[in-house]
Amino acid sequence: MALTGVQVFKLLPKTNCKKCGFPTCLAFAMKLAQGGADISACPDVSEEAKTTLGEASAPPIRSFAIGTGDKAPKMGAETVMFRHEKKFVNPCAIAINIKDNDDSLAAKAEEVANSEIDRVGQILRVEAISIECASGDSATYEAAVKLAAEKAPEAALILNCKDAAVVEAAVKAVADRKPLINGATDENAEAMAAIAKANSCPIIACADGLEALSALTEKIKGLGVEDIVLDSGAKSAKEIIVNNTQIRRAALKKSFKPLGYPVINNVIRDNAILEASIASVAIAKYASIIVVSSVEKWKTLALFTQRQNIYTDPQVPMQVEQKIYEIGEPTADSPLMITTNFSLTYFIVAGEIENSKVPSRLAVMDSEGLSVLTAWAAGKFTAAKIAVFIQESGIGDTLTNKELILPGQVAILSGALEDKLGDWKITVGPREANAIPTYLKGRE
């Protein structure tokens, strides 16, 4: 909850010494309240005031990254319950759990290192490896953690072990990677928090239920560690959705600080498809990290895609790249249709062309993400602009007959387009996408 300038002023030394660069404490307070200055500019402010101010200006869900480097997944900082209200901020990271005594540990870590794929212009990857201490042996665990770190040099590491002595040795071995310690329980909180603090690592607070979890995060915070991830002990899909919803609501709607942290969910199941399905529940419903048992390519592709869908900005129309898309295997005689680059328009039109089974080309023109009629009304899908796009694409040279099929909704453009594209034949296609299969088959 933000403080007013006067509330902030009451916390300052009120000496008007000007060291902060402002003429008076009040002027500085006003600027602080607007978020235009940083409290550290005042050298004389009390620790107590700093804490109060820091808490008041902190986002309702704490934000930090796990690991180091450009690819370290960021989490937290979420502001809404539903994606239509505002963009969800930091996409859920995917972590694979590997046991320290698993013979294929190196291979699995390499799989993570090679998990990158490109989907609609975004590079997506498995971000993290959770190394589980199944052996119970400190030397085995440390060696496993080192091996995983070496094989997946950019992955974030999660140290899944509740024995503080074992964790301490492993953290030291990969301290430069700032691993996420998993984790602190009510029993070991002091020891684990001390390790996290000494190595500036984030830590997972593990408790059963939200009441115990709230008490535990307060305890950890009291021990000087603030980058906390929540594990509420949720196992079933029901516990995941209920706990995650209550955590986010408590943080956003009740400003309940003890649960104002990102959430981790374990979604491991025996059956790989079911595991993917439960993972998708956690991704849609507020998890910041999910832990899976395997990262087969088909599975990560599906999870990356769902994550991308959930985390797209609802206010910015999704756009596809302006270009001539080939559907099926078109030849020089195949039809050429044109539409706008609003992603939904593209998906529907391309889907119907696929349904027709007629190999075709679809020219997708940049109309700033507007649908056909809206783009036409806004002057972004005009005869002049279409003519320039078609000419510059050079597509005419590859066709036997220069013919362009216009969406029926903009039939009105056909005359002007014929004037501008002299040697082209302009044909008016169907008004609605679902009539495309009939139309294309009818032309054959």
């Binding site: 079933s236 899909a237 029901k238 959705i241 209550q246 003890p258 529940v281 599975k299 609802p314 299969p437």
Partner: protein, 313 residues
């Protein structure tokens, strides 16, 4: 600071819609809370998944899902019985694909006969879907409603361009009705209003805001469903209270991810599991955003969505 469960309660309630008959009848809806948040309201009925079949062989389905049905899909009656008896389907959705002018242009009478034959062979509830050809559906679905009279079926889809005759037929023969609009909450609302203004009971309506596949506009369907459910519950808008349908299978089993072989796209991994996962994740996402009824194709996807639902309730 001690933790207090942050509950939200709503004045609105999703309508309960039953379909089918006798001991195999099903009920969907009745929700007074957001999906699966049973700690703050009533969620009396689990989402239902219907197996999709069609009145002609599924030549346009990709191999992964066509192969499963290859021995039974030559005949809709055999296919329907297989889904009910071997797969344990709780409901079946028969799509009258071959009535489409491009897909055989079968007559309304032929479709009626198919419906009667299928109804005679199964005891689980039947959902009857047209071929999504606006004009043709307006005659086929009228005949279908009559052929299925007395069976308390779900008939669809009534759209802006053809709802009048279909609504009248569903009304005359006492069926439930799917109203479909295209990915816009206002269009969905408007169509529901038009239909209820014809005297159709709003408690017999199911709304289909149009499905999209994972990666192909799923976020639009997801958010439209979420907004419909919030409008029905939080704003108590009666026109936004019908249960929601996700017609998943037909949107999923044509996208590249369910069709392209591993040889063509090695970085996408196994085609079989990829296709099944695609249908499963699309369906799971939609039950989270409010879908009460799903129409799906692959038995393994249906099974895993069923297990997910069982874990969620």
């Amino acid at each position: 600071m001690s933790f207090v469960v942050p509950k939200e309660s709503f004045n609105g309630k999703v309508a309960s819609v039953d379909f089918g008959k006798d001991d195999k009848a099903l009920t969907i809806g009745g929700d007074s809370a957001l999906p699966f948040l049973s700690f703050e309201g009533e969620l009396p009925n689990k989402p239902v998944v219907a197996y999709e079949i069609q009145d002609c062989p599924p030549d346009d389905w990709p191999d992964t899902v066509r192969e499963v049905y290859k021995d039974v899909s030559g005949d809709p009656v055999t296919w329907a019985k297989y889904c009910q008896d071997e797969q344990g389907a709780k409901a079946i959705a028969l799509r009258l694909v071959s009535t489409h002018p491009d897909r055989g242009d079968k007559s309304a009478e032929e479709a009626s006969q198919t419906i009667k034959d299928v109804l005679a062979a199964i005891s689980v509830p039947l959902i009857i879907l047209g071929s999504n050809h606006i004009e043709k559906d307006s005659t086929v679905l009228v005949a279908a409603a009559e052929a299925a009279s007395g069976n308390n079926c779900v008939i669809g889809k009534a759209q802006e361009g053809n709802y009048k005759t279909i609504v009248a037929a569903a009304l005359a023969h006492n069926h439930k009705l799917i109203a479909m609009s295209e990915l816009d909450i206002n269009l969905a609302k408007q169509l529901n209003i038009l239909i209820t203004q014809m005297g159709f009971d709003k408690n017999k309506l199911i709304t289909d805001p149009m499905c999209s596949a994972l990666g192909y506009g799923l976020e639009y369907t997801y958010s439209v469903m979420e907004r419909i459910r919030l409008a029905g519950l939080a704003q108590n808008d009666p026109t936004m209270q019908p249960p929601i349908l996700g017609d998943v299978g037909m949107y999923v089993w044509k996208v590249k991810e369910t069709v392209a072989s591993e040889a063509d796209v090695p970085e996408w991994g196994s085609l079989e599991e990829r296709g099944i996962a695609w249908e499963t994740l699309t369906a799971t996402s939609l039950i989270l955003s409010g879908a009460n009824l799903l129409i799906m194709r692959h038995p393994s996807a249906i099974e895993n969505v069923g297990k997910t639902i069982d874990e969620l309730v």
